[in-house]
Symmetry: C2
DNA sequence: CTGAAAGCGCTTACAG
DNA sequence: CTGAAAGCGCTTACAG
């Protein structure tokens, strides 16, 4: 380390930390009123933007005083008075997951635009932690965005009991729980159609377990898309890999590769998220498969880092940031008394980001590709 | 999409959204007091944990009332009364950068442990946005953690003027600004020593521009480490790549590869962050270099995804989460009137995560490696 | 040990 | 248009 830390909190000149100097009292409404020679309520009215409630002459005095003191309203006091906190809570499984990080970034942007502020709470997608964090947040916010794809656990129930307006993000709820989800069905369709267009007829789907709401929807959409293309699906092609399992991708690959030659898929749609996709890719290569010559792979969820893989991985990119923003916008609309739809599926379409992990089905496929 | 959204905000049974139902009024201190038949101040004292200020008999009544009503104090009112908000603000360049996401995760953990809550504001590492977000946060928080490695801009000055206690995270400030940084010097040393131990004598260093505080420290530490090993450093081996520049890695590699054979580095220490490291790796391979056979590479900042690169990239891993946690802990200590050091360098050491991007210096190196 | 009062900084009917 | 008052939900001296 370059510089010595001084444990006495003073710098080399012996002055106290700037941050430790007595904090100047912030000017209040009353300070402004006194300086302008009016009643505090006048200042309040002027500042709340209620037009023409105040005489121009008075207003000038007030504004001058505000400027002179650099007055900024205390939002906490304002919140207490209004019975609103001007704050939203956001529960998030992981700040280090790119998908959720993107949702949060979008949420933050939307909140900022509405002059709301966001309180975050990490949950590790753990039910107990979610419940605890809900309790912590509930009393400081006007509404809660609960991001998670998990359907099990008691967090949703807790949320309902809390009496705080909320919206779910990235999962569906019961009949009365508003939610925002991405169009995972369309994303799945894009992946399957792309693979089919390359001539693949034996396509496997690696999905997360059914407690993950997105997994349920992707699996169903996969089956639908295959059926729509007239492609049969062997039960063995539907494999489950838990996103938390560091061996999930490998186990899935082994199961698939262990199938009799004629039944072995030529393409994999790995719908269980980024980590599992990477595991799958690595396991395939470790087991001697060339990608995409021997087997094509499409993953779910994107990352700029994917460009640097070899081969770079083709993936479905969801509009995560837009989802986060939408959740906040809807919650805010709801707080203002507007009706909001129970389920909102983003109209921003998922995109297939083409890289190099997919190619034409190898020629030893029994039947020719459909034109 | 599978389900129809009903724009009227009612479910298929015509009931209003759960979230739209009239919000039950939360019980207040007065409700508890009334139920327990005591004065609100008694309840307040009991709940603030001031021991033995209340008769056991009374306490029992109060606690029963609290339990019966499920009372939870309104933290905003509490904050207003205490003159504290029980809230910290965190400015962060990007929620989608793994390094900052990790710091934030650590910060959140520490805040949670102290019953504080965190307000986040994204800045894009843009000075104007930072200033704006500071203004937004300043009046709702007891203190601010400003995370960023940038030294330019007016955000720090703004922060100082605001009069809100603060701490910088991942950069040093002026003589009076408390900060928390990682031991980038040690991280750099690890990288250089590792490379030297493999027999490399011509080691290049790709750094971010000098407005990035960590870049300054890494470059200096690189020079020191090289000198300590008795290794000369050609000026041409010190190359600058801006983390924001999508071509930065490639340009650096071209410059280095363009050097006369005898002067060409056999190893690269890419200290400009994850993205630039990946660009560098890709550019090297695109230009026909085998890694590590022709050239060894060490990157800065880690990610689980790096395991899946080919070759997997050896990197320096900084204790980002611990840094974030420490910043919060120190700020909190400071808020309680404790003196805190002006500069805190994490004693958690950086780790060198060995993967496969480094190997012995190729045999055509002029001089043998030092034992 | 307990109660009554004042106050944190703001907002909003309600009178002038 | 402006002022005085009451109140948001809590805390904390100050008296009993």
């Amino acid at each position: 380390m370059a510089t010595n830390a001084r444990a006495d909190g003073r710098d080399s000149q012996g002055r106290p930390n700037r941050a430790a100097r007595p904090r100047p009292r912030r000017p209040t409404l009353r300070d402004v009123a006194r300086l302008a020679g009016v009643d505090p309520s006048v200042v309040s009215r002027e500042l709340s933007g209620q037009e023409s409630r105040v005489r121009p002459e008075t207003r000038a005095r007030v504004l001058a005083a505000v400027a002179q003191l650099g007055y900024q309203p205390n939002q906490v006091a304002r919140g207490l008075s209004l019975g609103r906190m001007l704050t939203l809570g956001v529960l998030i499984p992981s700040l280090t997951s790119p998908a959720y990080a993107a949702m949060i970034a979008g949420a933050e942007r939307a909140a900022c635009a509405a002059d709301y502020v966001l309180l975050f709470a990490g949950t590790g997608d753990d039910d107990e932690t979610m419940c605890r964090q809900l309790g912590r947040l509930a009393h400081r916010v006007d509404g809660i965005v609960m991001a998670s794809a998990r359907r099990d656990g008691r967090a949703l129930q807790r949320l309902q009991q809390l009496g705080v307006p909320f919206i779910l993000l990235n999962r569906r709820g019961g009949e009365a729980d508003p939610c925002v989800i991405g169009d995972d069905e369309e994303g799945t369709r894009l992946a399957v159609q792309h693979l089919a267009a390359l001539g693949h007829r034996r396509i496997a789907c690696i999905c997360a377990p059914s407690v993950i709401d997105t997994a349920v929807r992707r699996r169903a959409a996969f089956l639908e898309a295959m059926a729509a293309l007239g492609l049969a699906v062997e039960p063995a092609w539907l494999v489950v890999a838990s996103p938390g399992d560091s061996q999930g991708g490998e186990a899935a690959v082994r199961a698939l590769l262990g199938l009799p030659e004629a039944q072995r898929p030529t393409a994999l749609f790995c719908a269980a998220g980024l980590t599992t996709s990477l595991q799958t890719l690595a396991a395939l290569q470790r087991l001697g498969q060339r990608i995409p010559a021997d087997v094509s792979v499409v993953g779910f969820d994107d990352s700029p880092l994917l460009d640097y893989l070899s081969p770079p991985l083709t993936t479905v990119r969801m509009p995560h940031a837009a989802m986060g923003a939408r959740a906040v916008e809807l919650l805010l609309a709801h707080l203002q008394g507007q009706q909001i739809p129970r389920e909102t599926c983003l109209e921003e379409r998922p995109k297939l980001v083409l890289r190099n992990s997919t190619g034409p089905a190898s020629s030893d496929v029994c039947s020719p590709a459909p034109s």
